[in-house]
């Protein structure tokens, strides 16, 4: 092609438009490639969430309308399972028991973890701080079943080490696992102790992120100790506390291993939680549909409580 001919063509409108199209295609192609790359990165999470969480939830919801014992064919029963559970006093009681555990254990976890986190943060020596952080975090790394087995020995009314020391200081032996009241206390103590490390690390992170100049300004203004904690630190920690509360409530609503191993839900049904009832119905009694219905109600309860916590957070959480 001659140079003059090319210059002539490049000045034409058609040529200019074709160059612009090419440029747009390149931009679009690069954006698509970037998007594709993004999808590839999130694919493992999305796929595993779909396969292991969303689909089971949908399947469980579907199963809740059937009567199925695994071996014989499932039979559609409509809302029968849901109607049945509203009359099942054991199920209703298990929700109350779980609620008790949730309220007491989450409150205790947050309060104790906050005090520990504040205490550890106030330690000047870095080595000691790391030492305590590690020590407090260790229980969360240990399986709940193992902890429960060991604590069952420690809580034993007659031969347990806890009562041994209680009697040495003049206190009576406590029927930790043999009284409905004390069995609940034993479950809560064990659960709080096991979960404390998680709350502790979250709150330690929150405390570390409070700008030092804010605390120094509080000191200059004469706010010390309790006043500084209530008026400066806790409000500034409120987003972390919200996270801790939400995660704590979701976890405690699903408590299973500790009461299962420590008390087997007893004495009677004193420590039988909702998940234990789901396990018992679905896998021991092979009432898969009924177990699914209870599981779905628990899912709705968790979802509702989380939503309520976020709604209420508007009134007490302060974002910087």
């Amino acid at each position: 092609m001659e140079k003059t001919e090319f210059l002539h063509k490049s000045n034409t409108r058609a040529f200019q438009e074709s160059i612009a199209d090419l440029f747009r295609d390149n931009v679009r192609g690069s954006a698509m490639r970037r998007a594709l790359m993004g999808y590839l990165f999130i694919a493992p999470t999305v796929v595993s969430l779909l396969v292991f969480t969303i689909l089971p939830i949908i399947a469980s919801f579907g199963l809740s309308f059937f009567e199925w014992n695994v071996i014989e064919k499932a039979r559609f029963v409509g809302l029968d399972n849901y109607i049945k559970l509203t009359h099942d006093t054991r199920v209703l009681r298990s929700f109350l028991t779980t609620a008790q555990i949730v309220i007491l254990s989450v409150l205790l976890q947050i309060v104790v973890a906050l005090l520990l986190a504040l205490g550890v943060q106030s330690i000047k020596q870095r080595v000691l701080r790391y030492f305590f952080r590690t020590i407090f975090f260790i229980p969360i790394l240990t399986s709940a079943a193992s902890i429960s087995i060991v604590l069952a020995y420690m809580f034993d009314q007659d031969f347990g080490v806890i009562n041994y020391y209680l009697t040495h200081i003049g206190l009576p032996r406590i029927p930790w696992l043999n009284s409905p009241h004390w069995a609940m206390v034993a479950v809560i103590i064990t659960y709080v102790w096991q979960q404390l490390g998680f709350m502790f690390i979250i709150l330690t992170g929150g405390i570390s992120s409070i700008p030092p100049e804010v605390l120094e300004a509080a000191d200059v203004d004469g706010a010390h100790g309790w006043k500084k904690l209530v008026h400066i630190q806790i409000p500034m920690l409120s987003p972390t506390l919200l996270f801790a509360a939400v995660v704590g409530v979701i976890g405690a609503l699903q408590i299973f291993e500790i009461p299962f191993v420590l008390t087997n839900g007893g004495p009677g049904d004193a420590t039988r939680t909702v998940v234990m009832i789901i396990y018992e119905s679905a896998f021991q009694n092979l009432q898969i549909g009924y177990g699914s219905a209870i599981a779905f109600i628990l899912f709705v309860v968790i979802l509702s409580l989380t939503a309520i916590q976020f709604i209420l957070s508007r009134y007490w959480v302060f974002y910087q």
Partner: protein, 480 residues
Amino acid sequence: MNTRRISRRDFMRNAILTSAGIYMAGCGMSSTSKPASSPTVSSQATHVRMQGTLQIAFVGTQVANSQKVIAQDFEKAHPGVKINFLPIQGKDWNDYFTKILTQIASGSVPDLMTVATEGIQLFAGKGLAYPLDEFVKQDKEAIREYFADVHPSLVEAMMYQGHLYALPFDFNAANMFLNMNLFSQAGIEYPRGNWTKDDFYDIAKKIAALGGDGAPYGYGWVIRLWGSWTPWIYNNRSNLLKEDKWQGGQWLWDTFYPDNPAAKGRSGGWRWGEPIANTPENVEALDFMVQLAKEHITPSISAGGGGLLQGFFTSDKLGMTPAGGFWAGGLHNAGMKPDEFDVQFFPKWQTQRHLFGTAGLVMMEKSKNKDLAWEYIKYWVSKPVMQYILSNNDTTPVRRSLATAKQYANTGPKHWSVFYDTLTKFPDTAPIPAPTWYERMNTIFTKYTSLAMSFSQTPQQALDNMQKEMEQAYEQEGGK
């Protein structure tokens, strides 16, 4: 120690190879006389099926060396066969059954699985277990020696609706284990065989009165169906469910126990009827347990396995506990010397009837290797295999010929003969009540026993409530 083990192993291998040869010959011979209408065990099919992989589920965390050895020997005797063990962890039989049912629900079915009395009717009732009748009939000559060595009550416990679902491998009757260190400290003699509930109470009180630092308890038990307070129900002439028997199974008694008086009146298995949890005898039995707890003769009673009890017993904190032959090996492994503990029959109350549980390999209905599975069952219950596997006395062999002084020389107890004599001396001794709805029954039983033992309900209240819930469960399960 090593030398002894190798030599036993070599002996075992030879014995097993020989017995496997006999079995194979037995199969070939009997298959010719088998009716053509039963294709499962035809000689041609046997030839084809002696290939493949057998999946065997059992309760536990790992495969014991003894199991590996005998499986390897079976594989050697059957080229082309592979044995895969599937250990399933469970804190008790109930937990194990739950897990295996879940696994079956997911489509993964083993060919064979270990099942105790607790689960025989559960799996048979749900159509998951496959009856062994045809196999036993076909191989009757080869298997006759086994039945001749096994008490009929154990075989009957493995039957349901007239069909045999397992060949018992081991059993444990609830006898009374005695801590002879504490007996000696309290100046108590080994009790006579026909000791009574009152004798027991006096002994338990004396041991509990020993005092001192960490004073011992006279008697201890844990809440579960087997060996809990249920032996006191049995010896008070009662049960939790109405006892009946299934019809059928006469072919088995006629074939293998024609002249055995202990087989007279045996049936097609135990038929567990409607609940009778709150009979006056049961209330009386639970009341006695509560009395012992209130008098601090027993420690606090909670649910669980026997691990805690064994710890107390071996550390001389417990005088007596209901246990079976499995405790002999357990106490030995925990460091107790043979003369430091002993065993006696359970005390007499209205009667001296005992309860027992037995276990064996159950063939799964969905197994595609049924003939091979049957070969393994026969091999499993053969005397050399049983002797080898149970050499450490962690359970009681069902073969009477293995209840010998030699078997218990290393572990004790001195009165080892009590284990098997329980079956022969008390012919009305029966298995624990384990209907098709065993899992629900066990949950209800555990729940109300724990309420009575925590003094939250009186024995009468607890058993009335137990009865009410069991009636509901019985009705919902179709009264099977």
